[in-house]
């Protein structure tokens, strides 16, 4: 079984090729970068993806050393995401399915983050029976775990996603996009983290007060390094706390950290320290598989297909849809049942 997966929920475009044994043969990416000083424009991101995707598919096939007629399955990100971006990926996937007469697997983007994370943990020799996942990116901040046969959200941000908060702060103080890595670098030079509001509501967090206070501290002359360290120490401790609260309620035997912000070393360190204190294992998904990527869609597509949930080529025109607000608990995951 060889599957090609297309990820196009937001500003990143990914094409991955994965085997039924979970071997990642290719994981090619392209990123839409908004003009300096502005956020993501969905239609411009979609245009970028439409322009790049034929090339990216070719590159992935070449990298994997796979001919198109060797593909058994094509998977795409059905949602959640930005409508125009999702439609580009779905259209490309439909085209591949119809041209090669191979089935098409619709994949929930958030489920894919967890599944590739679990595959990555397994390859490191970790066997999680019942993990709690912290999924942190530019557009998502969620604590996810399995309950009654579905992945469900046990905690999340009530306002800004963590990556969005970091990017917004960076943009307003004149640091380049994406902001996370810049903030991490500066934080290492701090002598003392700035004290900022710590806002946790049960298993939820809120970052808007922290962002406002951080910007104010900077404007009032607090060294940028200290503000960056304050943001990291406060925001990441909040995230670690809600992850632990969910893990404690669920009696989880492991913690998985994934999403683009998982690349931050301080956050990863906090999650590992917390897990160690609880006496459970933790796994930080490596950046190549943690950020939005095509391999996670391909791998989850294989699971979807093996459990009879893929679409036959003849049904593709009417059944292959996208869903901007596709909730994680709406996605069937019979392989976890």
């Amino acid at each position: 079984m060889i599957c090609i997966g297309i990820e196009s929920t937001a500003e990143k475009l990914g094409v991955g090729i994965v085997t039924g044994d979970g071997e990642v043969l290719a994981n090619e990416k392209a990123q839409y970068v908004p003009p300096p000083g502005s956020g993501i424009h969905p239609s411009e991101a979609a245009e970028h993806h439409a322009r790049e995707i034929p090339d990216l598919v070719d590159r992935a096939l070449e990298k994997a050393g796979v001919e198109p007629d060797e593909l058994d399955l094509v998977a795409y990100s059905k949602g959640p995401g930005l409508g125009p971006c999702l439609r580009v990926g779905a259209t490309a996937a439909r085209t591949i399915s119809l041209a090669l007469r191979i089935p098409l697997a619709p994949v929930n983007h958030c489920v894919a983050h967890v599944e590739i994370g679990l595959l990555s943990a397994e390859r490191e020799g970790l066997d999680f029976g019942y993990p709690t996942t912290l999924y942190v990116s530019g557009g998502n901040t969620q604590v996810i775990a399995l309950k009654e046969g579905r992945y469900r959200v046990f905690g999340e941000t009530l306002d800004l996603p963590i990556g969005n908060m970091l990017d917004t702060f960076a943009r307003k103080v004149g640091l380049p996009h994406p902001g996370g890595p810049e903030i991490e670098k500066l934080a290492r030079e701090a002598d003392e983290p700035t004290e900022l509001p710590y806002t946790v509501h049960g298993t939820d967090v809120s970052f808007s007060g922290l962002l406002t206070a951080a910007l104010r501290a900077y404007e009032e002359g607090e060294p940028l390094e200290n503000v960056c360290a304050g943001i990291q120490e406060t925001a990441f401790a909040m995230l670690t706390e809600i992850t632990e609260r969910a893990a404690a309620q669920l009696n989880s035997d492991g913690v998985l950290l994934t999403g683009g912000v998982a690349a931050n070393r301080r956050l990863s360190e906090m999650i590992h320290t917390m897990a160690e204190e609880r006496g459970v294992e933790a796994h930080t998904v490596p950046p190549d598989l943690a950020g939005d990527n095509g391999a996670m869609i391909a791998w989850t597509g294989i699971l979807v297909h093996e459990h009879g949930l893929s679409i036959r080529p003849e049904d593709v025109p009417k059944e292959a849809t996208v869903e901007q607000k596709y909730r994680i608990d709406e996605a069937p995951v019979p392989w976890r049942g």
Partner: protein
């Protein structure tokens, strides 16, 4: 840590090891008591850690006393020590509402009563801030509210809606097959205590919070 506390942990029965504390059943001057000790957390910056643990200890003790004064069902406070980040309370036997719902030992009537209690709390200008089925004990004479360390004072319906948000999602994630029925029961109890007008305002704020959450 005070050597006495080390002994409590060593000799008592550990009831729970949560995200912020270890909870131990041990005797207190001849009474069965629950020792809640907020141990230092290595992952947090030490200044932030100490600030949080002390604030929450203070908050928990203060809110327990205020709720008990108002006649709301909370364990009796025996002792609090901000330096040691310790709160000692009465031991209330019984399962958590979470477990009781899963085992079928509790039902909508308990959740409805919890709705009334939450509305009373909000009426006093207090937000629980971690209102989940794990933080309620089903005692012989009804639900008892625990874990008040994150509570804060606010009469603002926006903040009251946070309790509803946390509770609603707890039902959706932890009790998915019962969540609709239990949520209706909660709101029934809430409205009975808070009245139609206040409930409507809070529900409007709840919708606003939910529409703010971005999923991309």
């Amino acid at each position: 840590m005070h050597p006495g506390l080390k002994e409590v942990i060593a000799r008592g029965r550990v009831l729970a090891r949560g995200a912020e504390s270890i909870v131990v059943l041990h005797e207190w001057f001849g009474l069965d008591a629950v020792y809640k000790i907020r141990l230092p957390r290595e992952y947090r910056h030490p200044d932030l850690d100490s600030r949080l643990r002390r604030n929450r200890t203070r908050r928990e003790a203060r809110t327990l006393v205020r709720l008990a004064d108002a006649g709301l069902p909370v364990p009796t406070l025996y002792e609090a020590d901000v330096e040691e980040c310790l709160v000692v309370t009465e031991y209330v036997p019984g399962p958590s509402l979470r477990d009781a719902l899963e085992e079928g030992e509790a039902g909508p009537e308990h959740v409805e009563e919890l709705g009334r209690i939450a509305a009373s709390l909000h009426g006093m200008g207090i937000v629980h801030n971690d209102l989940t089925t794990s933080n309620v004990i089903v005692a012989d004479d009804g639900p008892v509210l625990i874990d008040l360390g994150m509570s804060f004072d606010s009469g603002d319906p926006k903040d009251h809606a946070i309790d509803l948000r946390v509770f609603e999602r707890c039902l959706e994630s932890s009790h998915p097959s019962l969540s609709d029925e239990l949520w209706r029961a909660f709101l029934r109890g809430y409205e009975e205590e808070a009245g139609e007008k206040r409930t409507e305002t809070v529900l409007r704020e709840l919708e606003r919070i939910k529409s703010q959450v971005r999923y991309v």
